[in-house]
Amino acid sequence: MGAEVLYANLLYIASLAVAAAIAAVSLYGVARKPNMVKKIIMLSIFGDTANMFAVLLGYRMAPRNAPPVIPVKGTEPLVNVTEYASIAVDPLPQALVLTAVVINLAVTALMVALTIQIYRLYGTLESTRINRLRG
């Protein structure tokens, strides 16, 4: 195994560890940060970490990581498709992520709208103060 492959694989493992760490930090942020906007930022970070995790798991360690596009000449495939599928990166998690990104966008937009409404009604975004106002 060449040095390049080794570095690529180390980078891959490091990114998985980083994803786990970010997920933990962002959940902490959602639970503990009093400011509504910070909570929403933390939640989108959590969602994006989940997406990154999905893409990372779809990736395969070198050297079995060809792009998931079958090489063709004209319309004839140049390789055995079944064999090629076993050395190519799995494209399905990317498709899942595409859907999840759109959903996260909708949820974030809704939350931001609700937060604006909270600010209009209470004049503050600190959740601790909002709870006190409610009594």
Partner: protein, 543 residues
Amino acid sequence: MRVMVLAWWSFLVGLASTLPITGAFSTPLLWVATRSRRLVRAWAVFFAAATMLVAAANLYHLLYVEPGRVAVYYFGGWVLATNYQVGIVYTVDALSALMGFLAAALVFAATLYSLEYIGEGGEEWYYTLLLGLLAGLMGVFYTGDAFNLFVMLEVVGVSAYSLVAYYRGDGRAVEAALKYAFVGSIATTVYFISLVIVYYGLSSAYIVVEGERIPLGTLNIAGLQFACRVAGIEGAVHGLNIVAPVAAVFISMAVWVFMTKAALFPNHFWLPDAHPAAPSPVSALLSGVVVKTGLYSLIRFIYTVYMPSRYAPVAEVTGVVLGVLVVAGALSSLVAGFMMLVQDDVKRLIAYSTVMHMGYVAMAVGLGTRMGLEAAVYHMVTHAVGKALFFFSAGMAIMVAGSRSIDGLSGVAEESPVAALGVVVAALGLAGAFPLGCFSSKLLLYLAFVERGAVLLAIVLIASSAMAFAAYSKLVYALVFKRPRGGFSGRRPGSWMRIVVLSFSALFVALGVFAPYIVGGVVSPVAAAVLSPESYYRAVFMG
């Protein structure tokens, strides 16, 4: 690739969620084009009614025309095979059809009720969200794909969060909606992560058929069942050591998610804020069907995916999950019972009762017996009708009295007898009074617990019912026997609202009186369908 010709009625399966989503997206366009409130309302009622008819046709077909059949619809014509699992398939067995019909019927009733309940200003957006909620619910109950379930849970979620915040001038409603949105979207994101893990894990295991490697990685529910089943065959799966931990991680994360969605202790904290803050017809839907998406998904994963496996580690995991459900269910009903006793806000009282009833259903599902499953299904039906009736009639009473506290509702019976009748029938029925709806389902629950020798669960059932009875008696006493305190709001409930409340009262009584026929004609076939997971698998992969 397999080619197959679908029967005409299988298009009704595909129509069940595409019809309401069409209605949802066309409603605002119609409003912009015509600015006619009457047209928007008629449009919403039409789509809700049409969806209900489609759902009813599916239920009738699966119960009486072709009993034991599982209907499938492949979106986009992507027919699935075990070595070619691309595309989304809607797989409808009797349980899906029953839950779908329940959802569509409740949304239809809520739409009629809303015609007079929701005032001017933003009405078109209200019906858009209501139809969006219906589309999501039909998708959750009909889908045969675990990832599509995630998408549909989010559709339900986004519509539900917005509907909770419908009274956006009320800070408590907006705050409750935000809290609900945070909990809901964290839960669905965790579900997404669990799906990625199960997909990744299974795709590194494979079986060999005729010299060809077939990876097990899939997110189709029938495909997951296939993976769990072949794992039990000695030497069939290569890379087997990954299947058990993946199955365990997936189900433990998914159980947490669905317990949050179903508001089971200790993840019930969002429900008593979110459900009361919504407009009353929406509260009826949230407590009536939306929380049941969690329990439905649990039943689907436990009974359709995990139970058929003969693989020892998977069976072990299933046993643990069932135990967790029993414990969480018992704690939910007890905690909710205590909380009900101290509530002053009538809608919060009803919301805590939802936590209690979800606890009962979880206990029954956790028994893992046929009778437990029957009791769970029947209780989901009676609770949906009873809880919808409770919120519909309480909404009327609150409208008349202009107050949500129990004392503020004093003497509503004089002003609006229909509202009082609805509240009394719903309260007595949910507490388990003979011969109303939940009496028969609670009896079935009791028999299921005793049959399994779980006397402690039977005691929990009776004790929490007694607490609920005490909590309701305060409400019924205030409503019927107390003198009115001061004036009423002057608002009168409309005739559609009265019709909905009266017909749901009659339905709730009928669910109790005709219980033997309903259990024999609907609930038993549904339980039988859930307990024959092979037909679920066969329908998807072998047509």
